[in-house]
């Protein structure tokens, strides 16, 4: 992981990434600038591989503004995570934020969205549910192979 260049890096990070079962839950606590967004993207994609996550939930409930760069990053993130085998759900978009986004012509059509964490988990369970039996199979295969 690259060392943070920010001198105030002992402050709590603006994003916390938690592990919950096979999922990663990333909560964004404050508005992120472009550098922080990049770093967040990097960290998250890195951890998808490290923890073999099947799904990612990104909680943006604390954000008052989601601009075009943030939207772009979120879209990319979902695609990158998809390449590494994880589905992404964005949760917690406020009514005002949602309306502002569509008025600016921003869309997240390629990404799953859900109301809140609960809903996001439900979406992920459904999205990865089909894989679960397969995953069980591959695990068994691995054990027999050993």
């Amino acid at each position: 992981m690259p060392k943070p260049k920010n001198p105030a890096f002992h402050q709590p990070p603006p994003v916390s990434i938690l592990r919950q079962g096979g999922y990663l839950i990333a909560s964004i606590h404050t508005a992120l600038d472009d550098t922080q967004l990049q770093r967040f993207q990097h960290d998250l994609i890195d951890q998808v591989g490290r923890y073999r996550a099947k799904g990612i939930i990104i909680d943006v409930a604390a954000l008052d503004i989601v601009d075009s760069y943030a939207t772009h990053t979120l879209r990319n993130l979902a695609r990158m995570a998809g390449l590494r085998g994880a589905s992404t759900v964005i949760v917690g978009i406020n009514p005002d934020v949602a309306y502002a986004m569509v008025r600016l012509g921003l869309n997240l059509n390629t990404v799953h969205t859900a109301l809140d964490l609960d809903e996001g988990l439900a979406v992920l369970n459904k999205a990865t549910g089909d894989d679960r039996s397969r995953r069980g199979l591959t695990q068994r295969d691995q054990t027999t192979a050993r």
Partner: protein, 292 residues
Amino acid sequence: MTTGDTTPDRQPGHDMLLPELVAHLRENRSDLREKWAARITDAHLLSAMTNKEIFSEATSVYDNYVEVLETGNVEALQHYARDLSERIIPRGVETNEVVGIVLLLRDVLARSLFEKYRRDFPLLNRILDAYEPAANRIANTVAVSFVEERERVIRQQQDALRELSTPVLQVRERLLILPIIGILDTQRAQQLTEQLLRGIRTHRAKVVVVDITGVPEIDETVANHLVQTVDASRLMGAGVIVTGLSAEIAQTLVTIGVDLSKLSTVGDLQGGIEEAERVLGFKVIRSGDAET
């Protein structure tokens, strides 16, 4: 009316004449007030009110009127006029009636002044110089207050109507319906979107059925707005089903070429609700014979 020779001593005259005028109006209060009330009735103004009510309102207006003449401070009168308007607007009193009664009072008082000073014409002129601007200002104040109050009532009703016109209703757990009735303009479409998005959050909705059976026509802006509403709802994790597109609207939308590929539409409200139930995993089963 104003002659040249009164102009030089007009300013000092003002200060002395106005108190004299006020004293005169106070002295003849009951007489003038009755005259005024009689003239209101004769002119068939304030027909929505009884004679007794007219007289009591006339008394308050009269006293306020004299007070404004004396102090030149219209604030109290403004307040009273607003208060009065609030009371009489619901009873169907029209603007012309209110303006009419204030002008009548002005005439009644002016006439009494003519009568009193008819022997001394220059003095009458000076008295009228003092009286007229003040009286006009009062008439103005009352009329403006009345109209403002009326406008406020209208605005309030408009807001209430707008609020009522777009109810967001929950029909099942996580299923909302939004029946839209009447013309959709940009402002209403915006308000509707905001209300819907808030509704999605409060009711934790997953599916919303937007029924536009009651919408007679739609233009490109509003159609695009509808698409935005659908997008915004999706950002909050709720799917939108649009139902009840009339033949005219369907034709308009296709003719003007709005991209509706993102909308899922179902013919009527019933079909929309059934589709929503299917998405949410509800199954409605008739439990036996219908009651009644």
